[in-house]
């Protein structure tokens, strides 16, 4: 299983069913996962397209979307931040 976390505006359009998923056979990299997510929920795909999206894998910033996704990973999708 892979845990998916959608923050900020992404959380508003992410269906509950995406919180935990069985890793689809055709998803090998972070880039694959992002595209798969966009197909599952087009509004989420559009929201990610419309802004800068950062991926965090197991609490570490993913700089390279060709990195592999493995069973047991937690992947978070972050829109631009607005703290302070």
């Amino acid at each position: 299983m892979v845990r998916l976390v959608f923050l900020g505006k992404f959380g508003d359009v992410a269906p509950a069913g995406l919180a935990e998923i069985a890793l689809p056979g055709d998803v090998r990299t972070l880039s694959d996962l992002k595209q798969w997510v966009a197909r599952q929920e087009p509004r989420l795909g559009q929201a990610m397209e419309a802004t800068r999206t950062r991926l965090i894998v197991n609490q570490c910033v993913a700089h390279d979307l060709t990195a592999p996704v493995s069973d047991g990973d937690e992947v978070a999708f972050l829109p631009p931040m607005s703290g302070g």
């Binding site: 923050l7 505006k9 959380g11 508003d12 609490q59 607005s82 703290g83």
Partner: protein, 151 residues
């Protein structure tokens, strides 16, 4: 150094008092508190919600605070950031720096606030009469962040 993600309302002045307690070795305390305003640009705000990513948010803010401490040779730093639902009048963020001299205390607070605006994993949603909207950093926040980096 104390970094806290607060799920409940906090009393900024009580927190600062506890932070400075017994520190007669430092001469300067600079601080900033950002409050939830009742209106933004004349539009009423009924509620502010801040999302965070548990674990990652704490770690990132700690990293930014450590960078600030090193850069300004600041003996101690306090950061409290609210998450969850925040009502007008409540404190959103508190940054306080203790230092030997006032310039480094000021600079530490100012630069860390700039970092938090653009680099802290937090997401603000404002609810007003026209519904809710997510806030994104304004171009001037990024410019200020850039300047903080260079300065």
């Amino acid at each position: 150094m104390r970094i806290c993600i607060a799920g409940q309302a906090f009393d900024p002045q009580a927190e600062i008092a506890a932070f400075t307690q017994g520190r007669d070795d430092v001469g300067a305390l600079a601080s900033f508190v950002g409050y939830c305003r009742a209106a933004t640009d004349g539009v009423a705000v009924s509620e502010l919600r801040i999302d965070h990513y548990p674990g990652f948010t704490e770690n990132e803010i700690t990293r930014l605070a450590e960078e600030t401490v090193r850069r300004f040779d600041c003996p101690d730093l306090l950061v409290i950031h609210r998450v969850g639902v925040i009502r007008p009048g409540e404190a959103i963020v508190l940054v306080a720096a203790l230092s030997i001299h006032r310039a480094s205390a000021f600079d530490a607070v100012k630069v860390l606030m700039d970092y938090l605006k653009t680099d802290a994993p937090l997401w603000k949603k404002e609810t007003g009469p026209d519904g809710a909207r997510w806030i994104e950093p304004r171009p001037e926040d990024h410019k200020r962040r850039q300047k903080a980096e260079e300065g």
